[in-house]
Every structure is written in structure tokens, then in C-alpha cells.
């Protein structure tokens, strides 16, 4: 403990400045929320955390970028007239990596504060529980979206280098980006909610893997079987049940380069979009309720 000058005693030593009050600027809620967002985004990639925690996100990112690099190399060197894989479909093809990234990193943003109870320290500060939950979700959404968009942008750069038609490629890219944003919102909501409920990191990761990878596998199988049995409506209906089938269904309907077992058309695209939005909203409400409850304990 520092030396303090005693009343009537000798004055404090020279390095002791005593307690100094802070009378500088105190930022508003928006700035605090932005700081929390940036910190969360950095933490999702292990930045500002231990060296060990950077391994997983960057390993997965490297694995998802590698095929894109190969495709770019092939297209540029051989002068193909089109990309062998559409932008939106590339994300679909690498869905295992995207799901693993979200499952592994969601607990960083959603379990830690709750498990170690530091959430109470946050909620004793200006940001309210709903804002805190939303900002956390936004951090993960942007982290997941960046994970998908880096290889996508790489493909686009390759297409430009190979001299493919700029307007075609740009339209296709923008469609993919919109779909990816929606997908990122869904995945961040689902993995975030699971991580905020199951506070042990292991359970959270397993839960998210079940929800994103296993469930999607089951749904794809059911879709394939029902399409094979000519039960087209059943095949499309089942597609409402997982974020990945929602993504590919919407991409198919929007002509963004993903083939589904049965074309998603008619009123189905609207249903898909509606379910996606409802799912995001439900996850957000669940997150807010969860943070509020833990914070008041």
C-alpha cells in the first residue's frame, strides 16, 4: 500500500500523489456500446487474449480461405470463363468450418461473463442488460460474417484478376453478402443463446455443434429422401428448420447459385425469410431475458 502523509507528520514522499479525482469526459452509452462491440469482435478472434486462444479461430479461417486461394489460382492461370463455385455456394460448401467457428467462439462472448459472474459488474455500469446482450450478439454476428466474407472477397478479387464480367460478378457477390449477413445473424443468435444457457464451455460447444451441424445433416438427409420420394412440399417445409437450409433455400430462390433438392419458389421464399427473421428475433429475446435474469441474482 502506498505511503500516506499522516496528519501533522512528515509530508508524503515525492512519488505519492494521493488520490486524484477524474474530472475528464465520461462518454455516453453509444460510445461505451461501441467499445464493447469492438472488444467482443477482437475477442472472437482471440485478439487481446492469450496466444492459445488465437489458434482455433485463425486455424479455421485458414482452412476456409485455402480452397478459395486454390480456386483463384486455377481461374487466373487457366483462364476459365466463370468461377467454378458461386460466392454464396462457397459459404455453403464450407459450412462445417463456419459452424465450428461459431460453436467454438460463441462461449467466449456469451458464457464467460455469466459463468464468472462478471456480468454483474457490467450491469452495474451504464449499459443496460438488453443493450449488453444485443452488442454481444452484434460482435459475434460480425465475427461470423467476416469469417464467411474473407474467402468470398478473395474469390471476387480472383474473378476480377481473371477478367470475368464485372457487373455479373458484382451482382452475384452482393447477393451472397446479403445472404451471409442474414446467416451470420441466425448463427450468432443460436450459438449465443446456447452458450448463455450452458455455461460450461464444453457443453456450449457440443450444443452448438448439435444445433448447427448435426441438425443440418439430419435435415439435409430428410430433404433428400422426401425429394427422392417426390414429396416436394415436405422437402421444402423441412428446410425451414435449420439456418443452413434456410440460407440455401433463400439463395436458391434468389438465384444466387445454390442448388436445392427441390426449387424454392412461389410463396416459399417469403416463408423462409419470415422464419429466418422470427428465429433471429426469438434468439435475441431469449438472450436479453437470460442476461437480465443472471444480472439480478
Amino acid at each position: 500500500m502506498s505511503e500516506v502523509s499522516q496528519p501533522g507528520g512528515r509530508p508524503g514522499v515525492i512519488h505519492d500523489l494521493g488520490y486524484r479525482h477524474y474530472d475528464g469526459v465520461r462518454e455516453g452509452t453509444a460510445t461505451i456500446a461501441r467499445t464493447l462491440f469492438v472488444t467482443g469482435l477482437r475477442h472472437a478472434y482471440g485478439l487481446g487474449r492469450s496466444g492459445k486462444s488465437k489458434v482455433m479461430p485463425f486455424l479455421l479461417l485458414g482452412m476456409s480461405v485455402l480452397p478459395a486461394l486454390i480456386v483463384v489460382g486455377v481461374v487466373v492461370l487457366t483462364g476459365l470463363s466463370s468461377l467454378p463455385v458461386a460466392y454464396a455456394d462457397y459459404t455453403n460448401q464450407t459450412q462445417l468450418l463456419v459452424s465450428l467457428f461459431a460453436a467454438a467462439q460463441a462461449p467466449v462472448l456469451f458464457s464467460r461473463d455469466l459463468r464468472h459472474r462478471s456480468i454483474v459488474l457490467y450491469l452495474a455500469r451504464p449499459l443496460a442488460a438488453p443493450v449488453f446482450a444485443l452488442v454481444r450478439w452484434l460482435s459475434l454476428t460480425v465475427a461470423v460474417w467476416l469469417f464467411m466474407s474473407v474467402p468470398t472477397l478473395l474469390l471476387y478479387v480472383g474473378a476480377m484478376l481473371a477478367g470475368l464480367d464485372k457487373s455479373d460478378q458484382t451482382t452475384s457477390l452482393l447477393k451472397a453478402v446479403v445472404l451471409q449477413v442474414l446467416l451470420a445473424m441466425l448463427i450468432a443468435g443460436i450459438t449465443g443463446l446456447i452458450s448463455s444457457v450452458s455455461l460450461r464451455r464444453g457443453f456450449a460447444v457440443v450444443g452448438s455443434v448439435m444445433a448447427l451441424i448435426v441438425l443440418t445433416g439430419v435435415i439435409t438427409a430428410v430433404q433428400a429422401i422426401s425429394a427422392d420420394q417426390d414429396a416436394d412440399a415436405a422437402s421444402t417445409t423441412v428446410g425451414l428448420l435449420s439456418p443452413w437450409s434456410l440460407y440455401s433455400g433463400l439463395a436458391n430462390a434468389w438465384d444466387a447459385g445454390i442448388d436445392t433438392f427441390v426449387p424454392v419458389d412461389g410463396a416459399w421464399p417469403l416463408a423462409y425469410a419470415l422464419v429466418a427473421v422470427l428465429l433471429v428475433a426469438t434468439c435475441l429475446l431469449g438472450l436479453v431475458a437470460r442476461f437480465r435474469k443472471v444480472g439480478s441474482r
Binding site: Y19, G24, G28, A30, T35, H116, L121, Y122, L123, A124
Partner: protein, 322 residues
Amino acid sequence: MAGVTGEQHGPGPVITTAGLTKHYGAVHALTDLTVQVGSGVTGLVGANGAGKSTLIKILLGLLEPTGGQASVLGHDIEHAGQEIRRVVGYMPEHDCLPPDVSASDFTVHMARMSGLGASAARERAADVLRHVGLDEERYRPMGGYSTGMKQRAKLAQALAHDPQLVFLDEPTNGLDPAARNDMLRLVQRIGSEFGIAVLVTSHLLGELEQVSDHVIVLDGGHLLRSSATGDFLQQTGSLLVEVVGTETERDRLGEALARLGLTCRPRGAMVAIDPPPPELAAEGVAHDLIRDVAAELGLGLMRLQPDRRHLEDVFLDGGARV
């Protein structure tokens, strides 16, 4: 960006509650609590479950009261929770530190979450960590900290943004006697030297007796008593006398004083003298008498002091509720 500069709270009560009530179903955590807290250090005493933590959480806006009103630093808790949380610090009772972060990084982050800019937060964090007494260990992950170090880190984050009021919930919990004394000294310094109003809870009355200017006693969610610490420790009019020697000397003195009309009883190595009868009650008369008797008997006076009440007596009195 809504920038707000720090303003110091003027005189007047720091916390005011009126009929504050919190019921969890059939459990009555707080019942009709009306109390005022001023600047300096205020102790909030009560057994476990007396409603201390509930009161703090309501004042922070983390819990909604079932009934009643309260204001903190002039802000109403119902409408201005955010303004309150901007200028108040909170050190919870339970563990709340992530184990894989250093106290230094954590305190900086928490200061930023209170609205300080990056460089101001770093400067403040370094300052408060020094004040709470975390030296080189501030750069190590907090998972490896002792209980004493964890309590200091928790206190540092509560002070990081230079609040006008801090809620310290059981800051001495789990500390050994030496660390407990350090923490209590620190609490006292926060209230006096730092000029930050403190509401500190404890279930140990003796602790708060040492550091508080004012004590509020809660019992089962009810206000038992609220007054200045000095009033609790009022002099009873009794005296305590100790002389050099063993019990033999003590008894010789006691018997001699009893013959002169004072009611004496042994208490440990001392003689406790009840409030003197009217003819000896004048200022200093009893003291002179004791001095003279000790001199006559050839006994060495070691101690002659007023017998003061302790906070415990408030409870022993049977606790007539206010």
C-alpha cells in the same frame, strides 16, 4: 456522443429511501425501509439474509422494488438508473473476476465500460490498483490470486471510474485478520481521504464499528436502527479499572471501592464499576476516589477508562424495531 463531465455531488443525503419494499413471492427481503445515507462511510449491518445485498441491487437498478421509492445522488432509481450507474461503483459479495485476464487489463476494461476513454482508463486503472495495493501481481491472470488479492481487484474495478459513491458488499469476506484490517483501513480512506461516499455491508458488527461514521442495522428486511456510530458506542457511565498484579490485587481494590459506596464486579483482569451513586456522580469525583484508593492500597493503576457499549449490544438489547 453525449459527453458528460464529472460533477461532484453537493451536500445533502447521498441515498434516500422511502417505504422501500422487496418481496420475492412469500419471502420478504425488505419491508418498508425508510432511511437516509450521508457522505462518509456508512455501515450496513445485518445477519445473512437481512436484505443488505437486496438493498444495494435495488439502488443500482439491478432489481425492481415491489414498492416504495429511492434516490441515489439525487437521481430517482426508477427513471434514472443509467445516470446512477454512471457515477456509482459496486463491489459484489461473490466472485466476479474472469480467471484468464490480468487485474490491470480488467480494470482498464471496466473503466472504459463506465465511459472513460482508452488513455484515461489506463491511467485511472494504474492509480486505483496502486491505492488498493496490487503491485506486480496486477499483470498476472486473476485466476491465480489469493482471496485477499481478488478482493483488492474487485475493489479496484469499483473505483476505476472515480465514482461519487461505492457500494461495497462484504469486502472483508474470507480475509485473514491482517488482510481484513488492511481492507478496513482502505474502506476508511475511501470515505475520508478519497472523498467518496461508501455504503459498506458486513455481518460482523465489530468491523463496522471501527470504520463507519454512521451505521444502519437491518434485521429480517426491517430497519432496526440507523444512527451515527458514536451514538451506538455511547458511554454507559460505567468505568473500567485495572491495576498492576493478579486477581488478589484486583479484589483488594474492588472491596475497598465497594466499602466507599461504589458497586463493583470483576470483569476479567479488571474491575467494572457501575454508574456511581448521585453523591459521587459529579465530574471526576469517582475518578479521584479510585485514584486515591489505589494510592492508599499501594496499587499501581494501569487503566481507568469509561466502559463503552459495543454495536453487539444493540442486538443484545432485544432489538425493538423502529
